[in-house]
């Protein structure tokens, strides 16, 4: 479980946005292609020269007016609900959950998201070769995780930083918070500031 939480913490999820955008794209491609196919006459010349709003279809709808109206109303409401859900989901900022260490009533102990990230950030920046660090809490209140972005100085031994992270920074964070697991995603960047480009 903790592995997947750490993996999820790697970056903000774009799955729903990507899927829905692709679905709209695929529908548009299919609709456009279908209209072109009909227009070119691959479904018969007769079909291609019928009006776009075909009287046959209009008559059929007129014969089934009740069902057509109910269907259109339901479809409209469904699209409205789907669109609103999708809209607020796309706009929702990524959560920064606090860490709840103790939930016994009267003795609650909560580490706020900013306190947690400040503490880990200071530790991470003290690793040799790390010029900057940015830390934030991600995930849900039930399953909080950390995301750490480290900027390394040029010429840093990445493998050493990679192993120092757990032994030094995260072990300390877990010890001081008194938790067994703290799912963490680390993103490494190379710092460009202060380094001369070799040509």
């Amino acid at each position: 479980m903790s592995v997947s939480a750490a993996r999820r913490a790697q970056g903000r999820s774009h799955g729903a946005e990507r899927t829905l955008t692709s679905v709209v794209g695929v529908l548009a491609v299919l609709a456009g292609a279908a209209a072109l196919v009909v227009g070119v006459g691959w479904l018969g010349q007769f079909r291609g020269h019928r009006p776009v709003l075909d009287p046959i279809a209009v008559d059929w709808l007129g014969d089934h007016a009740l069902y057509a109206r109910i269907g259109a109303l339901v479809l409209g409401v469904l699209l409205l609900v789907l669109g609103l859900w999708w809209f607020f989901r796309s706009l929702r900022p990524e959560r920064r959950p606090d860490l709840r260490l103790d939930e016994t009533s009267g003795a609650e102990l909560t580490v706020t998201a900013s306190a947690l990230s400040d503490a880990v950030q200071a530790d991470a920046e003290s690793i040799d070769g790390v010029t900057r660090a940015r830390t934030r809490s991600v995930g849900t209140v039930a399953e909080p995780a950390l995301r750490i972005t480290l900027w390394l100085a040029e010429g840093t031994d990445v493998r050493r930083v990679w192993s120092d992270l757990d032994t030094f920074v995260l072990t300390r964070a877990r010890d001081s918070l008194g938790v067994d697991t703290l799912p963490t995603a680390v993103r490494l960047e190379l710092d460009t500031a202060g380094s001369a480009r070799v040509h």
Binding site: A6, V24, R47, V77, G83, W86, R159, L165, D166
Partner: protein
């Protein structure tokens, strides 16, 4: 790309919601007050206009082409918005590490440029592939390429990468043009 997709996705969501609302509103209104004019959408006019054009007319074909191309663009954008981070091995349980492709490219680039007789180098990197294009005046491709391949391999060996990218090196040298 990810920001673009998030923005597009928000706009599409608004469009879907607005379309659904208008559809329900107009159908409901026309059902309740069949003799009155439509509320917001002049659909009776659209109806007569659509009844006048046939599928093979130019405007319909152009509109269909635009819709299809827009759909292809949407799909391509959505596909390109995937996470490009280069995964590294987990140093411990519950910790994942990744590097940005740019960081990997810079690591490789620094090592390649530090080699003798390399005048310049451009590197692009992803989780699957590292491409190096180096220029040299003093050595031709045959002499320099094996050395650069070794250098890049050395850099990749030092990184705890989860999967090793394929390496391709191209040397651009005036000596080869003679």
């Amino acid at each position: 790309m990810r920001v673009v997709v998030r923005l597009l996705s928000t706009l599409l969501a608004l469009a879907v919601a607005a379309g659904g609302a208008l559809l329900a509103l107009e159908v409901g209104w026309a059902w309740w007050q069949p003799d009155k004019a439509p509320l917001l959408v002049p659909w009776p006019r659209w109806k007569t206009e659509l009844a006048a054009v046939d599928w093979s007319s130019t405007p319909v074909r152009i509109a269909a082409g635009i819709v299809a191309v827009a759909g292809i663009v949407l799909v391509l954008l959505a596909l390109s918005a995937k996470d490009r981070a280069v995964r590294m091995a987990d140093p411990a349980d519950g910790i994942t590490v990744s590097a940005s492709p740019r960081a990997l490219a810079r690591l490789v680039g620094v090592a390649v440029r530090a080699q003798d007789n390399v005048r310049g180098a451009s590197v692009t990197a992803s989780a699957r592939r590292v491409r190096v294009r180096a220029t040299s005046r003093l050595e031709n491709e045959e002499q320099l390429r094996p050395r650069l391949l070794e250098t890049v391999d050395g850099v990749l060996d030092d990184l705890p990468l989860q999967r090793r990218p394929k390496v391709s090196v191209v040397v651009d040298s005036p000596k080869d043009r003679r």
